[in-house]
Symmetry: none
Subunit: 217 residues, 4 copies
DNA sequence: CATGAATGAGGGTTCATTCAT
DNA sequence: CATGAATGAACCCTCATTCAT
């Protein structure tokens, strides 16, 4: 009995925490970290500004928790995903489709995360304990996505499908950059593009580069 | 006489405007737009905070003028640059080397510019007249770099060196993203990497992609 | 039957009210009125913050009730106390010993009360009805202690033991100040001193002043 | 020329810093540290709230600087003061008259300082560098007054005028307590009492205690 | 009665910008 | 032109108090 109540209350609380993040993804996405006012988030979430502090330590905490949630959701998606095993290209196609599909819906926020990484972190060096671990989690979550790509690339390298002399890390890095570029583009345009087209083009470029496939001739 | 004095004074004024930008590139690069305080810039430039307003309208104006200057400098460099004509690859190598060399010295600021583009612009819709034209200039300047790449790509496509079915714009976009990715990486690491290595790797990837050159076999 | 239940419930309620005050004496003593958070008291008392409002009107009410309780307890002690009748000095010794012993255990809180008196009251002029009477009680309770001293002094004056030309009120005032001074000293040092020593010294000073007893010579 | 300007500007700045303190002594005196709003001080001083930050780091800094100034002023007064050399009593009379006269005009603030000492300091242990030294200064300044009294007492002890077996420190402590008691009394009453009367009474008590002078008989 | 959650009302502080000298 | 000083306008965050369960 008592336990049931507790779990229910825990669930409600978690739901509200998520409501706040849902509101945040919109506002942070639109305005970026600095120009976002707690009040905007509160209004969007249907809370008062002060209430947010029942759920998160402070503004930065909301941002980080959100980034973590979004990245982990994505990772979870990938872990339950059956990637085609026939070829690197089709595996990457599936992967990118899911990735862009998921990220795309939050492209603006993803862009904000990148900005946050390069703009807010660098320089800061003194954090409180809580902050410290939260940031670690954040970085881990962000890194985990890259690792998914890295894994794909590594497999393809082992199987001989990737014959590039470049290190797996370098290739992964470039793929990431390209994806982030897409997010930026959409953010600036204000809307998503066509996912299928976008993925196909990325694939084409990633697999064959610019000088391209006809090299065989 | 009078004219001479005027031109001299103009020159002095321009010199000071540039001093301010020189200071800004450092501070904006380190802290990003939002976390930069006018006072930081003033201190770095050897002025008082109030003096900055003798030379620029406001904080955003400094940022935009700086971005414009940096991008135009780069463009000027390219216009006086004799790119090798023998192959797309060697032209691109030269181009990238110069680009990364120049940008690299300001990588942190370049990262800040990207963040600014995606984080500050979007959402704003009411600008004063002055702002309006300044922003146009800024966007033009940023775009001009991309056009340099686009021109290279176009030529290579005409000459048949690029056989990718992708549009020239798409290829250009990916190359840009990769370069921006490098800037981000350096910014996060806090220092530049080895330019030659970096350029070679980019080249390798851009030209042949991941599955790579040995496709011939 | 019904009555019994009611009295029992009343007793429980009173017990809880006292629990809250027990917690408060610690927290108010350590942090003073302003820096004490209701949450600190609640935690210390094993209640939730909201529950406190079932027992007391508000923060100030807790503080006042506590001060009243502590002072009345002390007065009760004195009323059941058989002071030696042989001399002013020995009566005062017993009195001070008990006073300092009792107060001393709560020295930090006593210091907080003084601060509260001079810092919070003065200036306030609009009080609600409830507040009004509570404050009266508080002031009465604080005054009652002084009256105990006053009574001692008066008796000694009547009996000729006190030959000072000073009014009984003045002497009482000085004794109070000295006692409060001890509380402050302990509060700042963070711990009580030796009661016997302290009382003896106070006695010496109060009875003979600085120029002192040897005046006879 | 240039130097003159600088010293003048320095003087103006110092004058303004003092204006702020002048305003603060009133407000802090009336409301105490916690209930004082920066805005109150600003209004009283004829500044905007934000302007205060041109002169002092923060609220606590204003309070501490003020306390230091007041205490040092008093000390300076004493150092230029020719205390009668004929007897402890007349020296103490002059001393107390000046002390109460000076302090009295600021009695409310002096009370606030005591509250601050016991209420705000205790517990805090982590301070910034600046704070650290400022607090040291504050404590030194407060202590210096006590030392003046201690010196008087010591001399009188050496000269045999004070025959009390109590330590000089103890006597000094009691005198201080009594003075602070007066400040509290005035603060609670809302106005100063008659200085001459007050001083005479203190003297009487301090010199002969309660049982008093006629002990000779 | 107990309490988790919600919130209004502020407070201290920051900073881009303006103004007077 | 240079600058110290002044300030309006926010913003983040805190906390006593209220409310719904």
């Amino acid at each position: 009995m008592e336990e049931l109540k507790e779990t229910r209350e825990k669930a409600v609380r978690d739901a509200k925490r998520n409501l706040i993040l849902d509101a945040s993804v919109k506002v942070f996405g639109e305005k970026g970290f600095h120009e976002t006012r707690l009040e905007d988030i509160a209004a969007q979430a249907g809370f008062s500004k002060a209430s947010l502090y029942n759920y998160y330590e402070d503004k930065e905490s909301i941002f980080l928790h959100l980034a973590i949630r979004e990245h982990e959701r994505l990772c979870d998606k990938f872990e339950t995903l059956d990637l085609p095993k026939d070829s690197f290209q089709s595996a990457l196609r599936t992967f990118l489709t899911v990735l862009v599909h998921e990220m795309g819906a939050r492209f603006a926020f993803i862009a904000a995360v990148s900005n946050f990484q390069t703009g807010v972190f660098c320089g800061h060096e003194t954090f409180g304990k809580h902050r410290e671990t939260l940031i670690k989690q954040f970085q881990t979550a962000v890194a985990r996505i890259q690792e998914q790509i890295l894994r794909l690339v590594s497999q393809a390298k082992s199987s001989g499908e990737i014959r590039s002399p470049l290190s797996e890390q370098a290739i992964t890095k470039y793929i990431s950059s390209i994806i982030r570029g897409i997010m930026y583009e959409w953010k600036i345009k204000g809307k998503m593009g066509d996912i299928t087209v976008e993925v196909n083009e990325i694939l084409e470029f990633v697999c064959h580069g610019a000088t391209g496939p006809a090299q065989t001739a």
